[in-house]
Symmetry: C2
Subunit: 350 residues, 2 copies
């Protein structure tokens, strides 16, 4: 980490645009029966099964805005870029099936760097059973830009929107929150140590979970299947990319409801708690505004509670109220404060 | 043109990311019955009719690489960015139905500039009857990046690939070639005149068609329908974005065939011919390598020739041969020279 390990550097111009695409995609395998045609034509061709609808989501990641290559290895970046997009597909209660990947790269990147990036992308496609079916590679006048479009399928009566939450529904979150944001803080600190003394070795032993959540997040592929197995159809769902607070507000606004979120119910990993103490940060603030968790937030009918309550992946953190009641956090001290969306970008500027 | 007409400049930060997306997309209307859910959730939801497959294509346009804002008005850029993508959908013989648009923008662009860009995008969606169903807007550390994904549908037995051309098939092209590239040359020249003397008025009267082909290209939405009406299913098809020569080579390689292309059959607009004379350029070279024409190149069985021969949109420019015969241009002087793909990027560097 923090070192330039590049030993061989082949300029992109040695391959040319078409040569580069061929080179990077030569190991791509098609595994999904719904992929009729992948890379190599004007467009990919995808079959949708009867009674199923397609879901499509797209995200753009920009160097210097969404990632810093000084501590984000390119392989991890490729993997994470896929996760960011698949997370949106799972948030529709759908199965992710295909992705396209477009890159704009400046010629400061050698072919070997793009091979690393692609190796992360292809690892993600294998583990998540999605086909890479297309994309575009072009030059950039400055940094690296990654644009991914993810495609999924779901039975038309099983799509879950942000807009279906109803009064008294329970607010449920998967996994735990805040770790990815803290991982970024740890990496930023180590980067500064490294810049001051390039011989310093990063000390990350106490932060392994946090750093992994930042550098190698996993999208919740398991949740749509788990919910189906539990015979629970959420009334609404959204993925947590910008922070719990912001996503709860999106969900409530789209559903025209209010909510009460209980501070003491927010799931935190022990490393989040200990690192917040060390960094003198409030763990609730981090969980509410941290971002990049890629967990899912959803609502269920109260009668479905018995089906989920024993599951360690799922935590009930609150309940839905009427729109006029507003959106509130109920603190450990039992005070009621309005939820505000600050988002992790805003937080960083403070 | 070449002037900064911005009078009001609202910084993007006044709206914030979510506010900006809401602002830019507030006029988006959904018209397609296949669009179940557009902008406003984690993903768009699209229904595919029975017996139809989906086609998906994506392209990335980067400022300074694909466009120069000093002569490309933002409204035209938005329109053209959509055309570039729809062209790929039509090249599959499909109907374009939805697009997603992602933007990375530096804060040198005021909100009004993005409104211009979106107005071009929305004009294109209206004229081509496609729904804008999603996207992402983010900041950029430098220029403007536009990533568009286009989605289409076509009956599963009507998809046309690059790979179906057979020996003796006829090679057909739509419209005429080379004008967009010459339009770029004209605009580059006027830009230099303007830089030398900012009071000079651009002289574009003799180049209206060329400039329009460069600044406001139209994708061939009409061709899949025309071919269906003529009861012709092409054996192979590709869109002409990088120049005729390069696309013929793609098509022949994918189909494992050779071809003879006849120089005297290549369709040229009179303005292309006169401007080539003025600029001392060879019109065949321009047509072969010019790029950005967004016409369609396809092959048909010889028995279908009577069905297309009267159509002014379609020109037979050659025929398919065996793979071992190679890919050749037959010149007006009846000499046979191998086709090479230089592409317009390569040509510009000469």
């Amino acid at each position: 980490m923090f070192e330039n390990k590049d030993e061989s550097r082949t300029p992109i111009s040695d391959l040319g645009e078409f040569g580069l695409i061929d080179h990077l995609t030569k190991h791509v395998e098609i595994k999904r029966s719904s992929t009729i045609k992948g890379i190599g034509d004007d467009a990919a061709v995808i079959n949708s099964e009867e009674e199923r609808v397609m879901v499509v989501s797209t995200d753009l990641l920009v160097e210097g805005v969404h990632f810093d290559l000084s501590y984000m290895p390119l392989k991890h970046l490729g993997y994470k870029a896929v996760m960011v997009n698949l997370s949106d597909i799972y948030a529709m209660n759908a199965e992710a099936t295909q992705i396209t990947v477009s890159l704009a790269v400046s010629n400061r990147f050698p072919v070997e760097a793009l091979e690393e990036l692609y190796s992360g992308i292809l690892t993600a496609t294998k583990l998540y059973n999605v086909d890479l079916v297309g994309g575009d590679t072009t030059s950039s006048t400055s940094g690296l830009v990654i644009s991914i479009t993810a495609i999924g399928q779901v039975a038309s009566d099983e799509v879950v929107y942000r807009s279906g939450a109803g009064e008294n529904d329970l607010l449920v979150v998967t996994g735990d929150l805040g770790a990815a944001y803290l991982g970024l803080q740890v990496l930023e600190r180590e980067k500064q140590v490294f810049q001051a003394n390039p011989n310093a070795q990063p000390e990350l032993d106490n932060y392994t979970y946090l750093v992994e959540r930042q550098l190698k997040p996993e999208a919740r592929k398991d949740i749509p299947k788990l919910l189906r197995d539990l015979d629970v159809k959420p009334t609404s769902m959204i993925d947590i990319s910008d922070g719990l607070s912001s996503e709860i507000i999106h969900l409530c606004k789209n559903s025209e409801v209010g909510c009460n979120l209980y501070e003491d119910k927010i799931p935190l990993d022990p490393q989040v708690i200990s690192t917040c103490e060390e960094f003198d940060l409030d763990s609730t603030t981090i969980a509410l505004n941290g971002g990049e968790d890629y967990e899912l937030l959803f609502t269920i009918k109260t009668e479905d509670f018995p089906k989920i309550k024993a599951n360690p992946n799922l935590t009930v953190i609150g309940h839905i109220t009427g729109k006029k009641d507003g959106m509130h956090l109920i603190t450990r001290a039992d005070t009621k404060i309005p939820l505000i969306a600050r988002g992790w970008n805003a937080m960083e500027k403070e």
